[in-house]
């Protein structure tokens, strides 16, 4: 396969996998933030938002410490499952997941807050358990906003650079993503190849942001 397309498919696949990893964690967390009051909530909110404002390289360095062979997660996985994270495709997925998590949780929270608690309350008085209310009232009404949030987080993942380059490097055919490869081509003076990747990145970003905005607008109209 042409190297460019390999990079494109690898980046798309990694970003998709990172969404699969963070959505099951992000959705309940967003619900807890949107609907419940609990001690330490503002601290958790702040910690979740940190990767949005911290230098991505700093986040990468923390991940390197945690997921490296000497880190508590990295050493556990290496000892028990003979699995390495750093400088593998898993590191790419980890970096994309961590860096897009804050954006995902924020978007999901806004989508869930858009559903009137009164609808959920009335559903409870009609005999529905909280779980049934979530799946039959909250989720369908927030669905467009949730998809919009996932698309936006996915777009963020596609463009991730700082943390990825630190923990996954740029191993051709193994960890090369769009952003990291673009940087490498510029370093090597291969401007044509770099511009090709930039054009692809812009196309993905445009479609993702447009789709996310369109879905978000629809949600505001329907709820």
């Amino acid at each position: 396969m042409d190297e460019t397309w390999h990079i494109v498919w690898f980046t798309l696949g990694s970003a998709l996998l990172s969404m699969v990893v963070i959505l099951p964690i992000g959705l309940p967390l967003a619900w807890l933030l949107a609907r419940k009051e609990w001690p330490g909530k503002s601290i958790v909110e702040t910690i979740i938002a940190l990767p949005l404002v911290m230098p991505p390289v700093a986040t990468g360095l923390i991940l390197l410490k945690v997921a490296g062979r000497r880190g508590f997660i990295g050493s556990f996985l290496h000892e028990h499952f003979d699995m390495d994270i750093i400088f593998t495709w898993r590191a790419v997925v980890l970096a994309l997941a961590v860096m897009s998590f804050p954006l995902l949780v924020r978007s999901l929270r806004v989508a869930l807050e858009g559903v009137s608690p009164r609808l959920e309350g009335v559903a409870r008085t009609l005999g529905a358990s909280p779980l049934r209310v979530f799946f039959t009232v909250t989720l369908p009404l927030a669905a467009r906003g949730i998809i919009a949030g996932v698309v936006l987080a996915f777009a963020r993942a596609l463009g991730e650079f700082g943390a990825t380059v630190l923990i996954a490097g740029n191993i051709p055919g193994r960890t090369s993503t769009l952003a990291v490869s673009t940087y490498l081509y510029i370093q090597l003076g291969q401007d044509d190849a770099a511009w090709k990747l930039v054009a692809i990145s812009i196309s993905f970003a445009f479609v993702a942001v447009w789709l996310s905005e369109w879905l978000g607008r629809k949600q505001r109209v329907t709820v």
């Binding site: 009137s116 309350g121 559903a123 008085t125 009609l126």
Partner: protein
Amino acid sequence: MIYFSAQVFLPLNHFPLEVAFEARDLVTGVFGPSGCGKTSLLESICGLRSPTRARIELRGRLLADAAKGISLLPEKRNIGLVPQDLALFPHLNVRQNILYGVKKGAPTIHLDHIMEVLEIGSLLPRPIHSLSGGEKQRVAFARALLASPELLILDEPLSSLNFALKQKIVTYLIRIRDEFKIPMLYVSHDPLEIMELCQEVLIMEEGKMIHRGKPGDLFRSCLSPVH
């Protein structure tokens, strides 16, 4: 016969809600100005709010008792609620809305009976956004009734309607009262609605229950013409 009793204490923004009352096996009006704590009281009764202190009993069944650490979840209380904005599910059609709370086993109220009394048979396949204000009211009543509640709470359900439509919906409410014989708490700040529907009225002001009696007796003085 005492059917329902509630003692609720809940601090609100400007005053505490502190209410104790009993309701008989009929339609009881709860009357008071906006912001006097009516909705907070109803939500506490339904289990949608957690009062600081409460003791709520329905047909001899304890729904909440702070002293004993009991507070049943809203879905276990079997109290129907029609809120002011009706809260119909916008993503479901009329049929799906009204069947949402139907319980397995033998319901005490049947769909055919509801359709006949509220004249909603032709509305069943329609989406909620296509309904008129009056149709939405009837669908909201049907949804609450089909869950076979032991107590039905109507929180100012007619406040957004014009006078003519209000009169029409009141006739449906009278039919509900006479056909299904489900005790109701009917909240309103319109004395005429209360006089038409309720056998008894509780008057609230700033979180307190200040009067209780027959609507005719309590409202006669304020509704009679000035000589």
